[in-house]
Symmetry: C2
Subunit: 230 residues, 2 copies
């Protein structure tokens, strides 16, 4: 029987690692792709490499997407383009809108090349932080465009799309990997694995989700099972 | 009055230069973007730089998309991915499907950053050479996805979509730039400007289109005017 093959968009963080452990139960040949845009802690790339290997990915491609920095406003101003008005608070001026559009496009090209039919991504509309390219409607529209543009049925799967953080913890627990997610993934903005710095927004969101899950395991697990097919 | 701003996907070849001279009559602030993926003759990038400047582009961004080579099969095999069956004749094994999907996505991100509402590309369904990501249906679908993903009305314009090569020459002539297109653009696979090597497929297509136009100017120009609004 032919192996079922999938590409997982993989950062080494909680969400994409949960996608990876979930995907292992449905696909037997998994290719991970990690996007390196030079702004993240190198630790994040190292964690992604280690975990992809440990979790049995067939291949792991780390793709340099430094070109994104070339499209940041701070770079474009070198071409004498007027600096736009003050960026929103908290968003660095190297943030590039449409980043996820680019990542999903590259993941689909990678899937085409390795002859995988599926691209799995941990984007989530429930806590999408205002990024329109994490919304379900967008992912479906891009999927449609990419199928037309590559003349191949690549399907985007988004297992976390409608989960909240507590339910994402429940999903890890369902696959008996809660402690791996808790101790070995890296979500912290300050580049600290596991429990993280405890102070940044990512650490807060992650910890709050875990607390909610642990204090109400049964109900959260039931909510999860109503949302996805496990 | 606010300036009308557009991004032109620009290679320095016949088609995109024709788009640029066409766009000048509808937009008064044009930003060109050229994709450098290291496989083309450096002459092509130089021609693009010269012509963008000469034709009055406000800015010209040359973006290094060497990451495409990282997604070519020949690179992926380093990750122990089996080499797929023989590529089709004439297509180098560094060719990456979905290239135009990527270029249009990057052009749209650039447009977002410089606050342009329009991305103009010279893709053409009439002589699309079998690439599905040059087809009108694809461009429209990607446009829809990108508008959703960036939450901004960026519009893709494809003035050459339904033109044949003779009509593209007629369009250049309409804007009184036939000799500039003929003498200063670079389409030749062997990197020779103007008339080119005369031997490669690109040179043949280009010359045949010019001959058809010159031998039947009036009819071709009328056909063009039925197809686009000039």
């Amino acid at each position: 029987m032919e192996k079922k093959k999938a590409v997982v968009v993989y950062s080494g963080g909680q969400d994409s690692t949960t996608c990876l452990i979930h995907a292992r139960h449905f696909y037997d040949d998994i290719h991970c792709i990690t996007f390196d845009y030079g702004q993240r802690h190198r630790a994040e790339i190292d964690v992604a490499r280690e975990l992809a290997l440990k979790l049995g990915a067939t291949a792991h491609k780390v793709l340099d997407v430094g070109l994104l920095n070339e499209l940041a406003i701070s770079s474009l101003t070198r071409d004498n383009i007027p600096i736009p008005t003050q960026t929103e608070e908290g968003i660095p001026n190297t943030f590039v809108p449409g980043r996820n559009i680019l990542f999903l496009t590259l993941a689909a090209i990678y899937a085409y090349q390795v002859q995988a039919d599926v691209v799995i991504t941990g984007v989530c509309e429930t806590d999408f932080s205002g990024y329109p390219d994490c919304r379900d409607e967008f992912v479906k529209a891009l999927n449609h465009a990419i199928v037309l543009g590559m003349a191949k049925d690549v399907r985007f799967e988004t297992p976390l799309m409608w989960l909240n953080k507590a339910e994402t913890w429940a999903l890890a627990d369902h696959w008996q990997q809660l402690s791996l997610i808790r101790d070995e993934t890296l979500t912290c903005y300050n580049g600290i694995k596991g429990a993280g710095c405890g102070e940044c927004a990512a650490c807060h969101l992650r910890r709050k989700g875990l607390e909610t899950y642990l204090s109400n395991r049964k109900n959260v697990m039931q909510a999860l099972q109503r949302k996805i097919n496990i």
